[in-house]
């Protein structure tokens, strides 16, 4: 049909040509029904019209519309927690745009969704309108934010082997606690729940349960208490250990014997899926080292249902013969290209090796610079060419932190405020600056910098600056300024060695009547007068760590051995060796009881005949609880501790969730027995009176403790009673400190 003019009826504020511009029909041109439908759709989709009718009478097209009301002003009332700007972004209607009822309801729901994301599911939104004449209306979304929706309880059903407290530690969503407004981890959100489910699955697969199944995760929202209860129902299945573990290959020429050493999954150990993956990666690297870079390692497990063992056979097959054409790194808006590329042991042009790429992905995730690392392979420019695409997403790596620490003398507790940047300028460098203050007006300042890839080697080089003042002693205060430069080299992925040169300069300032012999031993008076003292030393240490987590280790070993030589100038000339080791072992999975045994020891010997007081070891409450800070070891008649040339301590501890206290305050109890000794003195005591405590008497104590996992770090309250001590030792039964795991 053809019309030669168009008539528009019912338009008020929107002009007739606005309506015409939406039509697909033009006078003089033929059009079909489809054009009419299309025009109607266009008019509706503009949102300006609540009703549209198009009809043809004679040679005129009649378009009859009824307009929607127009919004004059759209406002949000009653919102405190979310800004107007953010809400405007979530809703569809806006000032001066068309108004329609259905869209307003949709907007109300969108506002509720926005609030649900910040943990408020108890929100009421109602829509108020006020006419302004001329078919215009003001619209207000009135929001009643309600209270913060808490997570009242997280239940676990079917977890016969692991205690609720342990599983609660595995997932990220936490129960609401009085302090959780700080960490915001108690917000229910569905994708976080998906992540929690896979974390539970990984946890069980890595702790002996290949058949673990999560039957259901139900979330019920209780209206009146405005809180959620999460329940994870699971079936653990049987617990498996590793049966016999072997390597076989279909690629001749691969020497299988040499590969046994790469395997981490040893017979008799608890089944661990992650260890299987790591073993495959190191086998693949070893096979590639034997000249077979294309080889692929496929672990095959087969189950023995009678004795609940899984025997694992790492099969080496000939992988696809493809070469990496390019490694494309995308998404790095901050981290530099080379910081990512250097984690790959393969270069462009090398053979494509699946396990080596998995290892690079594991390293990149370990850096902690990215919220996500996705590695995908795409076809290259030839059939045997592959392009590796590494898509990362930078996450902010800077953070403020508040922590508790000790002052220079290790006596007074200080509260430290720190700024830390783990990926400085995207170069992977680490920077931390912190300042702290505590009682007895003690102060502490720290600055440290580390470059993880010094001159292209996988060597972490860095330096630290340290300044502290403390006057916790009665008759003297102590000021120290120190600096060191260090170089750390990884030997295996658990063992590393560090070489460090440090220069310390410190001074003792007299306080009160320090010059009277009855108050302060002449040895210390010499220290005050003889200051400032400098110690210039170099030390080499081995550090070993195979613990499963830094925060709350349950399995594994932490150990360190340090050789120190002081005497490159400065006032100290000695050689000292110190060692410490702590072994963690689960005593009971059901009750989540962690056992740990700690051994420490140290010996210092001067090059010429004497040592200074500050050269000798200060042993006390930190090593054997129940004693004062420098409570044991040689001391003057005035009670000033001279420190000891030799010490050895041992401590056995059991750590468990506190039974009665509700779980939501993360509190753990501890019971322990400490024992040890500190003896020997090489300080020139000719000017002082008799010295006690140079013999190697055994001290021992038993005690209990409470560990609070606070936002300021793990704080610890200990009460220990020495049951074997010397009469001149200084006892301190109650002790408040930080629970440094090492």
């Amino acid at each position: 049909a053809v019309v030669n003019n168009i008539v528009v009826k019912g338009t008020g504020t929107t002009g007739t040509d606005a309506v015409k511009s939406k039509l697909t029909i033009v006078p003089g041109k033929s059009f079909s029904d489809a054009d009419i439908n299309q025009s109607i759709r266009n008019l509706y989709s503009s949102g300006y019209f609540s009703n549209v009718a198009i009809s043809v009478s004679g040679s005129t097209l009649v378009v009859d519309v009824t307009e929607n009301q127009m919004i004059n002003q759209l406002v949000f009332n009653g919102n405190r927690k979310v800004s107007d700007k953010k809400l405007q972004g979530a809703v569809q209607l806006r000032s001066l745009g068309p108004y329609n009822e259905a869209q307003a309801q949709l907007d109300a729901q969108r506002i509720k969704d926005a609030y649900a994301q910040i943990g408020r599911s108890d929100v009421e939104v109602n829509i108020e309108t006020a006419n302004v004449g001329d078919n215009r209306v003001n619209v207000a979304y009135v929001i009643d934010e309600g209270g913060r929706t808490k997570i009242r309880k997280i239940n676990f059903v079917g977890n016969d082997t692991f205690a609720n407290a342990r599983l609660a530690g595995v997932i990220l969503t936490k129960k609401s606690t009085p302090l959780s407004f700080l960490t915001r981890k108690d917000i229910y959100n569905p994708d976080q729940l998906r992540a929690d489910e896979s974390m539970l699955r990984d946890f069980y697969n890595n702790h002996g349960f290949p058949d673990f199944r999560l039957i259901s995760t139900d979330v019920d929202y209780d209206e009146d208490s405005n809180s959620y209860t999460l329940t994870f129902t699971m079936s653990e299945g049987e617990r498996y250990k590793f049966g016999n573990v072997g390597v076989s290959t279909s690629v001749e020429g691969v020497d299988v014997e040499g590969l046994q050493r790469e395997i981490d999954t040893r017979q008799g150990k608890v089944y661990d899926a992650d260890k299987i993956q790591q073993s495959s990666e190191s086998i693949a690297a070893a096979v590639s080292s034997q000249g077979y870079p294309f080889a692929q390692v496929n672990p095959r497990g087969d189950r023995n249902f009678t004795d609940n063992t899984v025997s694992v056979n790492y099969e080496i097959d000939q992988g696809v013969k493809a070469y990496i054409e390019r490694i494309e790194i995308t998404g790095n808006t901050r981290t530099r290209d080379f910081v990512i590329r250097r984690e790959f042991d393969l270069a462009e042009g090398d053979a494509y090796n699946r396990e080596m790429i998995a290892r690079a992905k594991r390293r990149l995730e370990g850096l902690g610079y990215f919220s996500s690392v996705n590695i995908s392979t795409q076809p290259g420019s030839a059939p045997d060419r592959v392009v590796i695409v590494v898509d990362v997403e930078d996450e902010p790596t800077g953070s403020f932190s508040i922590g508790a620490g000790y002052d220079a003398e290790g006596d007074a507790l200080v509260l430290e405020l720190g700024v830390e940047e783990r990926n400085f300028l995207g170069r992977g460098q680490y920077i931390k600056a912190s300042a702290g203050a505590g009682n007895d007006d003690s102060q502490i300042y720290n600055f440290s910098f580390t470059e993880p890839f010094f001159l292209g080697y996988r060597l972490a080089a860095g330096f630290d600056l340290y300044r502290a003042y403390s006057s916790s002693q009665d008759y003297y205060d102590y000021t120290e300024t120190a600096g060191d430069i260090r170089l750390t080299a990884p030997l295996t992925n658990e063992l590393s060695t560090t070489l460090m040169y440090s220069y310390q300069n410190f001074e003792y300032g007299g306080k009160g009547a320090w010059y009277e012999d009855k108050n302060l031993s002449p040895i210390f008076q010499d220290l005050i007068e003889g200051g400032p003292w400098t110690v210039s030393s170099i030390e080499q240490s081995f550090n070993y760590s195979s613990v499963d987590s830094r925060r709350l280790p349950r399995e594994g070993v932490l150990a360190a051995v340090t050789n120190k030589v002081a005497g490159l100038g400065g006032d100290s000339n000695y050689y000292a060796i110190t060692g410490k080791a702590r072994v963690y072992q689960m005593l009971s999975d059901q009750a989540d009881i962690i056992g740990s045994l700690t051994v420490r020891g140290g010996y210092v010997t001067p090059f010429d005949d004497n040592l200074n007081v500050f050269d000798q070891f200060t042993i006390g409450g930190q090593q054997i609880r129940g004693f004062e800070q420098s409570g044991i070891g040689p001391r003057t008649e005035q009670g000033n501790s001279l420190g000891a040339t030799t010490y050895a301590t041992i401590s056995a501890e059991a750590n468990f969730p506190v039974p009665l206290i509700p779980e939501d305050i993360s509190l753990r109890g501890a019971a322990y027995v400490d024992a040890g000794t500190a003896f020997g003195n090489k300080v020139d005591v000719s000017s002082a009176g008799p010295i006690e405590g140079t013999d190697s008497a055994l001290r021992a104590s038993a005690g209990i403790g409470l560990i609070w996992n606070s936002p300021f770090g793990d704080l610890r309250f200990d009460y220990a009673i020495p049951f074997a001590k010397e009469d001149y030792d200084e006892v301190q039964r109650f002790r408040f400190g930080i629970a440094n795991t090492f």
Binding site: S288, R385, G398, S399, Y406, N446, L459, A489, S710, G713
Partner: protein, 147 residues
């Protein structure tokens, strides 16, 4: 861990093209370009301005400890020269001995683009989520000087 772990076994890396001697026997003078690609696969690279020459480059590197830079210990370049009619004219093999010591020129051609400054990162990185991070990464353990 066994002692071998501590000293670190020698980590050998075979990089680049993996030469397969018996496949190489199939390529002789007169073979066509397609025959070469069929038996040896695509070349690692070709001559810069045309593909009259196929280069198959393979390297062997070693490192004793994980922190060391892999040291180039073996290198073999298989060069296949084609004549104008696209037939293999000559095959040459270059090894480590042919290599030369080159210390790279450190100067580079300037490039543009804005770079993040220290201040920007501190404000952007820590500023934006200072609140969230303020308590979350609760640090413990201060500068105690006691063993």
């Amino acid at each position: 861990c066994s002692t071998a772990d501590v000293i670190g076994t020698k980590d050998v890396m075979y990089q680049g093209y993996v030469i397969d001697e018996d496949m190489l026997k199939l390529v002789k003078e007169g073979s066509s370009r397609e025959q070469v690609i069929l038996s040896l696969g695509e070349p690692s690279t070709t001559a810069t301005f045309d593909n009259e020459v196929f280069y198959y480059i393979s390297q062997v590197k070693e490192r004793r400890f994980t922190f060391q830079k892999p040291r180039l210990v073996g290198q073999e370049v298989l060069a296949i020269y084609f004549n104008d009619s696209g037939r293999v004219d000559r095959i040459a093999r270059y090894t480590m001995q042919d290599g030369n010591i080159v210390d790279m020129v450190s100067e580079t051609t300037p490039t543009g683009g804005k770079d993040i400054t220290f201040l920007q990162q501190i404000l952007q990185g820590t500023g934006r989520n200072a609140a969230r991070d303020f308590f979350q990464s609760a640090g413990g353990g201060g500068g105690s000087a006691i063993p």
